[in-house]
Symmetry: C2
Subunit: 77 residues, 2 copies
Amino acid sequence: MPTVRVYVTLKPSLLDSAGRTVAGALQKLGYQELEQARIGKLIELQLSEVDDARVKEMCDRLLANPVIEDYRYEVLQ
Amino acid sequence: MPTVRVYVTLKPSLLDSAGRTVAGALQKLGYQELEQARIGKLIELQLSEVDDARVKEMCDRLLANPVIEDYRYEVLQ
């Protein structure tokens, strides 16, 4: 069954407060090489058939918020 | 600056209730081709230098919970 992996990320211009918290925690743990962390979502869909237009629609309607988030996806067979 | 993308997913044997909710919502919206959805995290780290052992350590100590989650990562230059 085909799997679609959707990657949802906050738009780069927006402040990612969860990412900042993670970055601060890692730096406090001694990982000084860390400059920035940003957190997004990874959604794996198993579909009986893949139709590009419908996958885009799912992302726009439910999986991502196009106002504040970007997304991309890849189809794995 | 190198970027490391960490993908954190719930172990396959565990029930993903958020994923179930998303799957149910998409099916109700008419996407009957959807069989399953699972939700994970995508963490993008910007590092001044990449040391594999240290990236693994960051994942094990803070980014993933090895008891219930799997992770993998890739390094983008």
